[in-house]
């Protein structure tokens, strides 16, 4: 039971522990943004994970072996030097033999020259090794992320993903460049030193090893805290980065709404938290080195204490003691290096944990192994009792069934949020239905190879995305082998060449990030051309002309009639001028098909569609809105 006084005046010991253990207090800042955080991983050192990490060395085994060999030559030189020193002192200096001294000095020089050559080679080899492994890991990670389906991306800010591919992979750089090689050579060195010491004077050797268990016991105490500390640091940093990424991409909104000051406050909170987490970790991390040194000093003390008795009893020469001290010094060097290595290993493990978490993520949408290619399709599409929910218990589509004949033009209409885009998401297999199936030409979507399906369908997404690069590059994205002429023809057919040619560099004008240097409608036009260029069997347009003016839209429609003769198309639109030409109109309401038919038949039916259309005429009633009206 702690009394009041001891509460008020904690002992020194307690104060120190409190300082070391102080977990950052949650700050009272309002959480303005929410970024999914990785949960704290408090598992002991994970050997399986390390082994998995090491498999990345696989193809570079030869390189790794060469690097290790060269490094070992360098360390072996370090091992030999005290021996030469011992001989020099014993025989050359002790024996007053100038000739021997000269020879030993030359040998000594030779070890350094060899070490010099080895060091240069080591640097080149280890960097090549480390960078190759990193490049491979990065390739693997990015390639894997590319295969993941949209549920993965829906739930993560881009900044989080970005950080894994760059920062987390780079954090492994140390480990792969020097870590593994150093580990091997240091272990080799350590064993070598132990052997040499044992041969020289086994009793003295054993005495100087006494402190090793001490080191092990001490360091295990500290290690766990260091590991958890680094994990926390990484988490904090990833939060900072996620926010930065979003702050940059949303900058225009921030400035329009003069939110700069508050964002700055938010940022300083997370920035500050990172600082404090780091410093907390440092408290433990910083102890490691001094602890190793202390045990080293104890070792030297023992050599002297015990060595002097040996010298007294004439069991050892003074030169031997001198050599031993050199060896003990050498001996602690690899140990403290291994300690440092362990530290960077812990940091690396924190990063690799996060990398593997991504690599272990399985795509929700994937074709079964060995799925057959979808042969060229005619474009017959069937929805059989399809239901879908993005998140459990909120159905976006509810038991939707329909059949589309090859070459039919279908318009999807309905209130916003009715499920039109969802139909399109399922059709292009961005998601799989929760119930029911979708057939294309009689093939179940889930049974065929995904790329062969998507290649035959083109979607113009509701949200336009252009890559930074030129207009030409962006259009060619639709078909990589399209010639310049084909690209220009496609743009011409859609009526996009007018504005393109007015640009300073025409088709070679850069569009900026996300197409920011173009008007919204121009971006949409380009993504339209891009989709057409892909020459799809099925064209899907999700409000693809919502930001395009009516005249251009008319041009597009005439072009489509020509270009898409005989192909199936789905069009989501709110503008009557776009909808009314469709062969068939499906009206969606709360995830279900409410009505289906031609424009005229639906108008006659006088249901949801008729009221949607009539809304247009309601705008014509009444006068201007402003005060002058």
């Amino acid at each position: 039971m702690s009394t009041v006084t001891s509460e008020a005046r904690p002992s020194w010991k307690r104060r120190i522990w409190a300082w070391l253990g102080s977990v950052e207090r949650p700050t009272q800042a309002i959480e303005r943004f929410s970024y999914q955080e990785d949960e704290e991983i408090d598992r002991p050192f994970n050997w399986a994970q390390l082994r998995r990490l090491l498999t990345y060395i696989g193809p570079y085994r030869g390189l790794a072996a060469a690097a290790t060999a060269v490094t070992m030559v360098g360390s072996a030189m370090g091992l030999v030097r005290p021996l030469i020193l011992l001989r020099t002192i014993d025989r050359g200096i002790g024996g007053h033999n100038q000739g021997l001294l000269d020879r030993y000095a030359l040998a000594y020089l030779a070890t350094y020259l060899l070490g010099w050559a080895a060091a240069g080679m080591q640097m080149r080899l280890t960097t090549r090794l480390g960078q190759s492994i990193l490049a491979r890991l990065r390739h693997h990670l990015f390639g894997h992320i590319q295969t993941l389906s949209l549920d993965f991306f829906d739930s993560r800010p881009a900044g989080n993903v970005l950080v894994r591919v760059s920062n987390d992979v780079n954090a492994l750089g140390d480990l792969f460049t020097n870590g593994i090689v150093n580990l091997l050579t240091n272990v080799f060195l350590l064993v070598g030193i132990i052997v040499v010491m044992l041969i020289l004077q086994w009793k003295l050797a054993l005495a100087s090893f006494v402190t090793i268990p001490l080191l092990i016991v001490l360091s295990t105490q500290v290690r766990k805290r260091i590991r958890l500390g680094w994990q926390a640091v990484r988490r904090r940093l990833s939060r900072i980065n996620a926010h930065l990424n979003e702050a940059i991409s949303g900058i225009r909104v921030t400035q329009a709404f003069t939110r700069e000051d508050e964002n700055q406050t938010f940022f300083s909170v997370i920035n500050d938290r990172y600082y404090r987490t780091w410093m907390n970790t440092m408290r433990w991390s910083g102890m490691f080195g001094p602890m190793v040194n202390l045990t080293g000093a104890i070792g030297v003390a023992i050599v002297f204490a015990y060595g002097s008795t040996l010298v007294r009893e004439d069991l050892a020469s003074v030169a031997l003691i001198i050599a031993f001290i050199q060896y003990v010094g050498l001996f602690w060097q690899p140990i403290s290096l291994l300690g440092g290595l362990y530290n960077s290993l812990l940091q690396a493990m924190a990063s690799s944990e996060r990398i593997f978490q991504f690599l272990d993520f399985r795509p929700a949408v994937a074709s079964p192994p060995g799925a057959p290619e979808l042969p060229p399709i005619t474009g017959a599409i069937t929805f059989e009792h399809v239901s879908f929910a993005y998140a459990a218990d909120r159905k976006a589509l509810d038991d939707v069934s329909f059949e589309v004949r090859p070459g039919e033009n279908i318009a999807l209409v309905g209130h916003t949020g009715a499920g039109k885009t969802t139909v399109i998401n399922l059709l292009s297999r961005f998601y799989d239905p929760t119930a029911g199936r979708i057939l294309v030409d009689g093939y179940d979507l889930q049974s065929v190879a995904l790329p062969s399906l998507r290649r035959q369908m083109s979607v113009v997404l509701q949200e336009t995305f252009l890559f930074s690069g030129t207009i030409r590059e962006n259009l060619r994205y639709g078909r990589l082998d399209a010639t310049d002429q084909e690209i220009e023809d496609a743009a011409h057919a859609i009526g996009a060449d007018g504005f393109i040619c007015a640009l300073p560099q025409g088709f070679d004008t850069g569009v900026g990030e996300r197409g920011g240097l173009l008007s919204v409608g121009q971006r949409q036009l380009l993504s339209f051309v891009r989709a057409l260029l892909a020459d799809p069997r099925v064209l899907i347009l999700d409000e693809a002309t919502s930001s395009i003016d009516t005249q251009t839209e008319l041009v597009i429609q005439h072009a489509l009639e020509r270009l898409l003769a005989g192909r199936t198309s789905f069009v989501v639109a709110h503008r009557l001028s776009t909808i009314q030409r469709a062969d068939r109109i499906m009206v969606f309401d709360h995830g279900q098909i409410a009505e289906m038919g031609t424009h005229q038949s639906l108008l006659d039916h006088d249901g949801l569609y008729a009221s949607l259309i009539r809304a247009q005429f309601r705008f014509l009633e009444g006068g201007p809105l402003g005060t002058r009206g």
């Binding site: 020193l85 050359g92 960078q131 800010p157 920035n271 290649r455 395009i548 809105l625």
Partner: protein, 580 residues
């Protein structure tokens, strides 16, 4: 060095911590230098001359010394980390502030991926320099100075030998530094390029997938990935030329010591103990010299990264507060907007005008509609009102005063804009709607959402207003996103409201409801509505028809449908089928 001069504000305030840390480091170095003295005494007097009684005090001194120096070392390290972390804290905050302040024109030409790499990777390189670099540099200096002092006291002539090597060292180090700087610039740049590819392929993942271009993306990625690797390897090759050489030069000292020192001992001019102590000391000299190459690397990296950070910090903003700019007080703002012969172009050259000679006057409370072909300049026109860009000719006036004579913040505070491409943050819907109004209560937010016809669907969501929407509003339909952006502008309570094609993804019925609701909102506010649908513009007090950056026609709906022109064409196209 100019990089370090420019970045002074980000480390000078903390130099006191660094000074304490470095002082402690000096103390630590001095303490470790005592060890050779003890060792010498142990060898000379105890082992050689058999003064056994001195053994224990000397032996115990060793761990004791290590313990005290360990404590000093810990404190030194801790303070050093504290220093460098504080520097980065400040630097990151400054970068963030600059990034928030940079105008639209800056972001038109900078890549998110590139900027991200700077605020993460480059900041990290800068920090590493201060953490490890300063420590190493100080250790180096202390060791050399103290080591030399001790050596001179032990044996002057022997010291001379070691000093001879220093010029060679200096030359190699300078060469290394010169070679490494451009190498690190290349590495940094290629990392940025890599980052940009990743970033784009993640944000555009739907596009990548819909064209089944995963393989292509991976190929593009791979070329940059390999370039980055290649630059790293090249840097290593450069390093491998100099760093081992620097180490070798340091080590030659040891060889000379052995040879010359050995002769001195043979001739009885020096004791064996002194020579061994010298060897110990030489370690203190050559150890840091071995690190010298590494130190140079850190420096070169910091230089390359610092340069890239300065680019963010020092790029001037074009759109800033003019001296003497006045505050536009919310109480007095009326929302009167005038364009007087405004011409504007985005690029340097003025031969591609985005707007030319635009005149308009929107009186307080008026609704102005804008119609025009894609790329006609509608968004450009409205973007000039909140000064997202500044005009090159003519002037834009708000409440009778040039917008450049209002302070930027107070001006923007009066303008609510719903941009053509919706951006939502990874935050709750509540946060997103109250983005410009941090003091808003749930009731206010709900009221704004109701006016934007968004309350209905939000209340159907599992967590209602607390639902987190993903980056860019994933998890909502296009129309739902637009309505949240609309609610955000309504809640902002501006005197000028700009709707840039804000209902393009909303069905006609909902749009009608929004418009009816907006009637109340628009009372007493000047409103600009950009739209392609006649329905959106129909009830404006004045409709401006833009073509190629010029106003080609203007009037009310009733007037314009009667005149031959763009407006009537559009009207007929949109309404002809429906009557049948």
């Amino acid at each position: 060095m100019w990089v370090f001069r420019q970045l002074r504000p980000y480390y000078v305030p903390y130099l006191r911590t660094l000074t304490v840390a470095l002082t402690l480091l000096g103390l630590f170095t001095a303490m470790t230098l005592l060890t050779p003295y003890i060792t010498r005494a142990l060898i000379n007097s105890v082992l050689e001359n058999h003064h056994w009684s001195e053994l224990w005090p000397l032996v115990l001194a060793l761990p004791l010394l290590s313990l005290t120096s360990g404590v000093v070392n810990f404190a030194q390290q801790y303070l050093n980390q504290d220093f460098s972390q504080k520097c980065t804290l400040r630097l990151r905050a400054a970068l963030y502030a600059r990034l928030q302040a940079h105008g639209f024109d800056y972001y038109d030409h900078e890549h998110t991926g590139n900027l991200m790499q700077r605020v993460t990777g480059d900041v990290e390189a800068w920090r590493t320099f201060w953490t490890q670099g300063m420590g190493e540099a100080a250790t180096f200096t202390f060791n050399i100075v103290l080591g030399l002092v001790v050596m001179v006291t032990l044996n002057g002539r022997l010291t001379l030998f070691t000093v001879l090597l220093l010029p060679f060292l200096t030359i190699s180090v300078m060469r290394l530094d010169r070679a490494m700087r451009p190498a690190y610039s290349r590495i940094r740049q290629s990392m940025s390029d890599l980052q940009t590819v990743v970033q784009e392929n993640i944000t555009g993942v739907r596009t990548v997938k819909s064209f089944a271009r995963e393989d292509y993306a991976l190929r593009v990625f791979e070329t940059r990935n390999l370039a980055y690797m290649q630059y790293n390897v090249e840097a290593a090759i450069l390093q491998s030329r100099y760093i081992p050489l620097i180490q070798l030069i340091g080590n030659l000292g040891a060889v000379m010591l052995l040879w010359y020192g050995g002769m001195e001992v043979i001739h009885g001019r020096m004791s064996l103990g002194t020579m061994v102590a010298f060897f110990g000391l030489l370690g203190y000299l050559t150890g840091p010299i071995q690190q010298l190459g590494f130190l140079v690397n850190l420096f070169a990296q910091a230089f390359a990264s610092g340069q890239r950070l300065i680019e963010i910090l020092e790029t001037p903003d074009i759109v800033t507060n003019r001296p003497g700019a006045k505050e536009l007080s919310p109480l007095e703002a009326k929302g009167d907007v005038r364009f007087e012969h405004v011409s504007f172009h985005y690029t340097e050259s003025s031969d591609r005008l985005a707007l030319s000679d635009v005149c308009l006057h929107a009186k307080p409370g008026m609704v102005v509609g804008l119609l025009g072909r894609t790329g006609a300049g509608k968004s450009t026109l409205v973007n000039l009102i909140p000064r997202f860009y500044d005009v090159q000719q003519g002037q834009v006036l708000v409440d009778g005063r040039d917008v450049r004579d209002w302070t930027l913040e107070s001006l923007r505070r009066q303008i609510g804009i719903v941009p053509g491409d919706t951006f939502l943050f990874s935050a709750s819907i509540f946060e997103n709607i109250s983005y410009g109004r941090h003091d808003a209560k749930l009731d206010d937010v709900r009221r704004a959402a109701s006016l934007a016809q968004a309350d209905g669907f939000i209340m159907e969501l599992p967590d209602q207003y607390e639902t987190t929407v993903g980056e860019r509003g994933l998890g909502l339909s296009g129309g739902q996103r637009q309505r949240i952006a609309l609610a955000r502008a309504i809640l902002y309570d501006p005197s000028i409201l700009i709707l840039d094609d804000a209902t393009s993804s909303v069905d006609l019925e909902t749009e009608y409801e929004i418009q009816t609701a907006l009637e109340r909102v628009m009372q007493g506010r000047t409103t600009f509505i950009i739209g392609h649908r006649i329905s959106s513009l129909r009830r404006a007090d004045e409709i401006l028809v833009l073509d190629g950056g010029r106003i080609v026609d203007r009037g009310r709906h009733e007037d314009l449908v009667r005149r031959d022109g763009l407006y009537r064409d559009v009207f007929q196209l949109q309404f002809q089928g429906a009557r049948g």
